[in-house]
Amino acid sequence: MVVFKVEKKADSGFSLIQILLLAVIPAILVGAVIFMAVGANPLRAYYIMFMGGFGDWFHFSEVLVKATPLIFTGLAVALAARMLLWNIGCEGQLVFGGIFASGTALFFQSYIPDPLMIPFVLLSGFAGGAVWALLPAILKARWEVNEIITTLMFNYIAVILMEHLYFGPWRDPMGRGFPGTAMFNESAWFPRFFQTRVHLGLFVAIAACMLLFVILKKTKWGYRITVTGNSLGAARYSGINITCQRIAVLIISGGLAGLAGTSEVCGIHLRLQQGLAVGYGYDGIIIAFLAGLNPLAVPFVAIILGGLIVGGDQLQTTLHLPSSISLVLEGTILLAILASNFFSLYRIRILRRSA
């Protein structure tokens, strides 16, 4: 008789590479099955996706453009998750960052000198995201109200409010019914680089990753976050004010997501318009998790996911397959990683016994 026994490994074996292989290969296989189900050649589909993202410098620059908001939202989720807080509301905070940044760019341009416009836009975008995270943060910190649900509900509210703004009071009077605000004044446009759409936001995002890494590693505040995340009891015992800590972390997390919205409106759209809330906030959850909540790993994972999204778009233009295949692959990778995590923590031993 053969008996399987699951036991915890002494060492948590398996390198990151092995886990990635264990997760990415199953995801690619699942994707292949889906491609075949809709009558497409999987090899060709994957080739188009890959070339669409990493084929040449132009396509790769588009991946960097997509990765920019993803770095911010990934960082936002990762920071909160380090304190065991689930910020599922990045989508709404992104939208509010976009709204605040647009408001500043549209209505304060005569009060703010041109060279200061970009710092102001960045600040207001951060503030917008932070404001949108404030209420869920207080509810969680003070009354333990489930932040997964509250932040998520706020996503829907933010999108409705944004639609109200660009369909209603903020609509461009010259726009001939186009759902969007007027274009910002040039002073609020993020500078672009290398003759591509790569813009300032990318460098702000990478700087934010490095800054956060240093803060978490080297400062007292970062140490408190780590302690609180590892053990709530220990944190309480050592006199850390958990309520304040949680509010602060969730607000900053919201602010980072707000910067994602800011860099989209000021770097790409140059106005507040339809198509700002396309799921970057939800992608942030995947990125944070795949990056192991490490700020320095976030940009790399964001680029991989950005490649997946650009590749999915390419698939839509070339093979007319819905670009949402990238979302399917994202979900599958996440599920496969979860499954393979098990094999890094546990081992299955086969015990033979005579019947």
Partner: protein, 307 residues
């Protein structure tokens, strides 16, 4: 009077998806598994139900297919949570993301297509019952099923041995296991049940509530269902009230739009269900100190004998 019937009838019509999904999730959570994949499962259910209904023309097949698809996704969550001890929060989110993507991918060719829709009850008997009869006459048989599931699930959960075992698995799996309760089996069963219900809720959306397939058509109703579980303090009867509250807000929105009364701007009305969910969650959580609600103690914790 006619206005009142209109509002009541839409209220009932709008609450069913949330109601079905939250009753399923109540069972899932009572057994100790947190499934945050409801939104994704609902979307898969809506898409599957619509496509099967469109191609076969059979409502029975459509609902069965939607429920099976939902159940399958829930089983995946159960496997990851129960056997692989994965983080249930992330697994649930992954299932939601997967469901959003998959339904959008496979449903793309069916956007805007005219599928089947369920017949309304409209029988002679109902016309004789004043008020209530006229409300029910505008519903489908699914409303009756949903309304019957409420007391039935309450009875099973709180008045039968099966219910006791389910609750034991969610409260203290080790003790339940020692007493001979098949903890893992029950958790599988309850998660599957949750998936079947969420799948049915999705099909209700695409075949009854707003017939047709639209990307992301559940619009957060799966998440609202999860919030309603907390609101209901894991009690199916209270979940009905939560769902009716949600349905009522939707009905008001329709009513104002239909009558052209701009008492409250539309965007405020659209926000209300989400805002109310947050408010309700806050009130319930803040008042919990009084000991009214009971979160299953082992909710979200994997169970294995070795540990």
């Amino acid at each position: 009077m006619n206005d009142l019937i209109f509002i009541a009838s839409i209220t009932l019509k709008s609450c069913i998806a949330v109601l079905l999904a939250s009753i399923g999730e109540i069972f899932t959570e009572k057994s100790g598994i947190l499934n945050l994949g409801v939104e994704g499962i609902m979307l898969i259910g809506a898409m599957t139900g619509f496509i099967i209904g469109y191609t076969t023309g059979s409502p029975v097949m459509a609902f069965t297919g939607a429920m099976l698809a939902g159940g399958l996704l829930a089983l995946l969550h159960a496997f990851l949570s129960i056997n692989l001890h994965a983080s249930q929060v992330i697994s649930g989110l992954a299932i939601t993301i997967f469901g959003m993507g998959m339904s959008s991918f496979l449903g793309r060719p069916f956007i805007g297509k005219l599928g089947i829709r369920l017949e309304e009850l409209d029988c002679a008997f109902l016309d004789k019952v004043p008020f209530l009869g006229r409300i029910l006459a505008q519903q489908t048989f699914l409303v009756l099923i949903a309304l019957m599931i409420v007391p039935l699930s309450w009875f099973i959960l709180f008045r039968t041995n099966l219910g006791l075992n389910i609750r034991a698995a969610g409260e203290d799996p080790a003790a339940a296991d020692a007493a001979g309760v098949p903890v893992k089996f029950l958790r599988y069963g309850c998660t599957l049940f949750g998936g079947l219900m969420a799948g049915m809720a999705g099909a209700y959306l695409s075949l009854v509530y707003t017939p047709g397939w639209k990307e992301g058509m559940s619009a957060g109703q799966g998440w609202i269902a999860i919030a309603m579980v907390i609101f209901s303090t894991w009690n199916p009867v209270r979940a009905l009230f939560g769902a009716l509250l949600f349905g009522g807000l939707n009905a008001l929105q329709f009513y104002f739009q239909a009558t052209g009364a701009e008492l409250i701007p539309t965007y405020i009305l659209r926000i209300l269900p989400y805002l109310l969910t947050v408010l309700v969650l806050f009130l319930v959580t803040a008042l919990k100190r009084g000991g009214i609600g009971t979160t299953p103690s082992a909710l979200g914790n994997p169970f294995s004998r070795e540990e």
